[in-house]
Amino acid sequence: MSLLQEVWQAVKAIGTGMATVHKRVYEEAPTEFYPYVKPELPPVSVQSLALVENEDGSERCIVCLQCERACPAQVITIERHRNPEGKGFLIDRFDIDLVNCMYCAACVEACPVSSIVTIQDFEMSTYDLQTLKADIDFLHEQARRARQWYSPKFGVELRTDDGRIEKAPPEMQPGGLAEILKPAEEVDS
């Protein structure tokens, strides 16, 4: 008797399994058709780095070398010289080795003026690693192409159609990350 029961249970289990599997056939797949449709990433997702300029085209970066010091992978190389007229420094060289960068955004956190920012350009695959050795022109180019970027200091910023830069509306701002970062800054100071 117990053998028959076992057989019956096995048959029932297989039947239930097959019915479940068949129901799945009619369900909508969540596929997002990547190369034809670009996915909408959240604004804080760290896919690449860029160097933002001011609206008038002048350099936002004050060449304080904070990002170079903060970088755990040591992929930022900055050379600077003193500004002959006025104060501050001017950039000689600003290279980020995007090949070895691990996209941790420590540099973005360290930057006092939010010049270096994270953008969502993930389509960086290449046939030749040299295209990933980013110099300052490429970093500016990346920032100019980006519609929105993120830095912990200013949050998400948008580039409007007429070229101005403005802070994104609050509903686009990432609440969670800003809150996490706030106490850390207080502890530091």
Binding site: I14, G17, M18, V21, H22, R24, V25, E27, E28, A29, P30, T31, F33, P35, Y36, V37, D121, E123, M124, S125, T126, Y127, D128, Q130, T131, L132, F138, E141, R145
Partner: protein, 391 residues
Amino acid sequence: MRPIPIPEDRHFRPRLIGYDPQKSRPWLERTVYAAYVFVFWLIVIATYAGVPALFGALGWDGGWGFVLMRVLQVVLLFLLSAVIALLLILVLRKYLGKVQERFGPMHYGPAGGIQTVFDALKLLAKEDFVPAAADALTFRLAPAVTFVASFAMFAVIPFASGWVLADTNVGLIYLIAVSTLSAYGVLLGGVSSGNKWALIGALRAGAQMVSYEIPLALVFLTVAVWSGTLRLGGIVDAQLGLWNFLPLALPFVLYVIASLAELKHIPFDFPEAESELIAGYNVEYSGMSFAFFFLAEFVELFLLPALIVVFFFGGWHGPLFGIEPGSLAAGALESLYFTLKTAVWVWIFLWIRATLPRYRDDQLMEFAWKAMIPLALFGLVLAAYMRLIWR
């Protein structure tokens, strides 16, 4: 190699080629499957009606003309098995995709329809590799043996009344003999590879296929006892009133299970258990040799369901709408019924494949020897008694 020009903005974008439905289009998919089945049907008609009619019209149906006709039919059947493999691999991938809530191949060809053609072309142009540790002759021979053993089953499969290559009166015996041969191919391939995974896979395949041959053969005998003939056409004819799956319910279930094992199909895919044995007996095969193993597997995935239809589901029987039996139109209609019934069974096999996990190896053998064979014997005796009483 020509240098790759680096674009101005240093971004390489993939080309947006391929069909771009952005959503599944079930009607298009079904059209593609229907087109494959239509090609299949046309080849069947050409093989079993077209070629004999042509040779009859030319007056070449004796002596060497007859041999030539048979050769032509076999070539057409080879084409048929290629169509079967292309269709079944496509259906398998798309069906497994559906079950996993994704789309299978869908961008190359309408609804991914020519994906498997590309796969076949690629395998054709890929390096065919013989490892140094392998026994070269046996290694080369094994895929051919496997494929020929599966392909030879076509000889006795009746697609419609009279549409069969060799309507011998020992059809069942021939089937038992030939289907056992395909175990040899797998065994030889695994043992000659000089690879431990292949060896384990081949030994498992040998043990499994030999064990499940026995219930399979016993079920064949049961069907023969019940129908009173060893001829496959005769078995189909005997089912005119009642399809065999009702009186022979127990042998029918046993046959389905044993043919799953014979196919090396989930839940009995021990010979190529991917999580344990990498790829099992075909681990060292690449290019066209591998393609022949694949081809053999999918031809069997057509042939064993086809045998289910022949033995238990009335073969080609179906409503003829007043068409005179024996004519070309009737033959075409009957072969269509046969194809559709087989398609349903192939789908059930794929469904089982999508659902069940793999057994444990010792459970498999235990099941064969302690459950299947006694039950098959019991079914045989029962069928004999029923035959004595009712006919």
